[in-house]
């Protein structure tokens, strides 16, 4: 109804407290129709809580949230007809067959009898489970379960889908297949609201919101976040004796941050021209440097910089 402005979710100063603990702290954002909106943040940062409020499962302490044009407090029942939701611990009924699970959720969502067969076929196709309709769900491998769960959650073709860590615990190939499904749905104009811990998945999102300690600390496209989060230059350092190198670099003027990445180090420096001086300083301490070069910050760098606050002043909303 009020979707004329092109936003499927609008959140304004949303707060959720459990006792005197604030799980969601005055967050505001909008998602646009048809986009893949990623929700990132460390454990306990309030991602699931926000999603549950948007699905009408938790009542907000204060603030406003509009989903599909309806207010979450006033008309949760109308919202339920317009959304699909896969909770973080989504689980299907293990003792029901693939078909029975789909049939059950179709019934719950009131899929009309005339469309029933078609929708179930579509979901089977999507999950790659055609021919396995009568397998017990409990016997399926993780990736299939996940796709079947998505199928169950979107049988009624909702315009907005909330996915809370849908790919946790499945193999990389299944994750890729799953994300292909997400992209396809988004291409059909469905708004996807997804939380994840995987940086590679975050790269697939049109826009990302970064949560930390209940607060929304950054919002933008992956590129904007990467560029905006790091002030200065990012250098990749490969050397031996990492421990001592870190010690030395922490004391080096002009190195703002040092973080371990695999068996290399990422340095944030104010000026890329400092590289030769850094190399000299390390070699003076008998640390042999294999390589030291400027790199483009990854999303993980941005994530670390933003959540630890070490990336310095980052804008909470970037111009798009």
């Amino acid at each position: 109804m009020t979707r004329s402005n092109g936003n499927s979710v609008e959140v304004e100063n949303l707060v959720k407290r459990f006792g005197d603990f604030t799980a969601v702290d005055r967050i505001s954002f909008q998602t646009r129709t048809g986009e893949v909106f990623g929700f990132l943040g460390p454990n306990g940062s309030g991602k699931s809580t926000t999603i549950r409020i948007l699905c009408g499962l938790l009542r907000p302490t204060s603030g406003r949230a509009i989903v599909a044009g309806y207010d979450v407090v006033q008309s949760p029942e109308l919202i339920r007809r317009n959304i699909g939701y896969m909770s973080q611990k989504f689980s299907l009924y293990a003792d029901l067959t693939v078909f029975e699970n789909l049939r059950f959720y179709a019934g719950m969502y009131g899929v009309p009898a005339a469309e029933l067969r078609g929708r179930i076929d579509w979901a089977l196709e999507m999950a790659g489970l055609r021919g396995r309709e009568s397998n017990l769900t409990g016997t399926l491998a993780g990736g299939w379960k996940q796709r079947l769960a998505l199928g169950c959650a979107v049988l009624h073709r909702p315009p907005i889908v909330f996915l809370d860590e849908p790919t946790s615990g499945v193999d990389p190939l299944s994750r890729r297949l799953f994300w292909e499904l997400i992209q396809r749905m988004s291409g059909d104009g469905v708004t996807i609201f997804v939380t994840t811990h995987y940086m590679d998945e975050a790269e697939y999102c049109n826009r990302l919101a970064l949560m930390n300690g209940g607060k929304l600390i950054a919002l933008g496209t992956p590129t904007e976040l990467k560029l905006g989060s790091i002030q200065g230059w990012l250098l990749l350092l490969e050397c031996d004796r990492l421990g001592e190198a870190i010690e030395r670099l922490r004391r080096f003027d002009g190195v703002r941050d040092v973080a371990v990445f695999g068996n290399a180090l990422h340095l944030v420096v104010s000026d890329a021209a400092a590289a030769p001086a850094i190399r000299a300083a390390l070699e003076a301490d008998a640390i042999s440097v294999t390589s030291l070069q400027p790199i483009r910050p990854s999303l993980e760098d941005a994530f670390v910089a933003l959540t630890t606050g070490r990336g310095a002043n980052c804008p909470s909303e970037l111009p798009s």
Partner: protein, 377 residues
């Protein structure tokens, strides 16, 4: 609406019957409990293990003790020689009763004086001891009466025509042979039903909460009423089936009569089940894990059985406790069960119980519905 209800019922029945273990646990435990209670739960006391210690060695003392050997209530297993043996026998639970006759027993009797007999009872099981004491009293009284008559007969035969006696003619109605089983078997149906239905209902909801499907269900357009009906109706049907199966087993195997109307029993069962389902649902609204719901169900079921009159008569309870029993649906259901099985009475007699169960059932279900939100907080 109807479609949603149909789907949730289909799903619940699949949960109940697809799994071999689940099918087994619906039928076998109730029957097993019925068998165990049918054999074990009885107030009768038979073959009380007895030791005798006779210091008098007279024809009188021998005849007195013979009356115990002859009774099926007692089994004389030890003839003792001295008092020191008594403690050990009682300590090791070899005997429950020791009868001791002092020297001079016959002497006193012959003189027409009171002759003492000492009966030492193991009071650990106070119920058995009490009942055994009753039988001892009966046998001793009978012996004394007979002895008096014999004495009178020998001394003054003429008096015999006047000897006054009272004979009690026991006519227990409904259960002419006072069969303990007739009392317990219908009662077992009630307790088995209570345990089965409360745990099944509480588990059915809590299991879904635990594995996460309840949260998933809550975001569908299903209404709380649909969810509750869908979650309780299957167990109502299971409960009715349990009653029918255990009732058939009880009447065929234990020969307990069924004298009343089946429909009265089924009506009473339905009303009782509405309370049990309500309590089960209430438990599920409070608990987050199956473990919690199990302990809470146990916490409810034990006093509910104690206060129902299943084993201990309500009339003997302290007044305050008696008042609490009015909140116990099992209390009323037991009256319906025993009424329909043994007495063969109908609604004309049982309507107050039916009414009470209706009130308790609708109260429990209303409370459960009110607490059963479609939100997580």
């Amino acid at each position: 609406m109807i479609e949603r209800l149909r789907q949730i019922l289909v799903k619940e029945f699949i949960h109940l019957f697809r799994d071999k273990h689940a099918r087994f646990s619906l039928i076998v435990p109730p029957l097993l409990q019925m068998l165990i209670f049918g054999y074990a739960a009885t107030y009768e006391v038979n073959r009380v293990s007895t030791a005798v210690l006779d210091f008098d060695h007279s024809p009188e003392s021998r005849e007195f003790l013979e009356r115990f050997s002859a009774s099926s209530r007692f089994q004389v297993r030890y003839i003792l020689q001295n008092e020191s043996q008594i403690t050990s026998l009682l300590d090791h639970r070899r005997v429950v009763l020791v009868l001791q006759i002092q020297p001079g027993f016959a002497e006193l009797l012959r003189k027409g004086r009171t002759a003492p007999v000492q009966a030492v009872l193991d009071g650990t099981d106070s119920n058995t001891a009490l009942i055994a004491a009753g039988y001892i009293n009966q046998i001793a009284t009978r012996f004394a009466q007979d002895y008096q008559l014999q004495l009178a007969d020998r001394l003054r035969p003429a008096l015999m025509t006047f000897a006054p006696r009272i004979e009690l003619q026991e006519r227990p109605w409904y259960n002419a042979n006072l069969e303990g089983r007739w009392f317990f078997v219908p009662g077992v149906i009630g307790t088995v039903l209570l345990v089965t239905v409360i745990t099944l209902t509480a588990f059915a909801v809590v299991r879904e909460r635990e594995i996460g499907t309840l949260e998933q269900l809550m975001v569908t357009p299903i209404s709380p009423a649909e969810l509750i009906v869908g979650k309780t109706l299957p167990f109502l049907l299971v409960g009715l089936a349990t009653v029918i199966i255990t009732a058939i087993a009880g009447t065929l195997w234990f020969q307990v009569p069924f004298r009343g109307n089946v429909f009265v029993l089924l009506l009473g069962t339905t009303l009782f089940l509405s309370s049990a389902l309500g309590v089960g649902l209430l438990i599920s609204t409070i608990c987050w894990t199956q473990q919690q719901s199990f302990s809470l169900a146990f916490f409810y079921v034990t006093p509910a059985i104690m206060l129902s009159g299943f084993g201990y008569p309500i009339a003997s309870m302290p007044h305050a406790l008696q008042l609490i029993t009015y909140l116990d649906p099992l209390r009323f259901y037991l009256v319906v069960l025993r009424g329909t099985f043994i007495k063969g009475v109908g609604l004309g007699v049982l309507w107050p119980q039916m009414l009470a169960m209706t009130l308790l059932g609708s109260g429990a279900l209303t409370l459960a519905t009110l607490r059963f939100h479609k939100t997580l907080d």
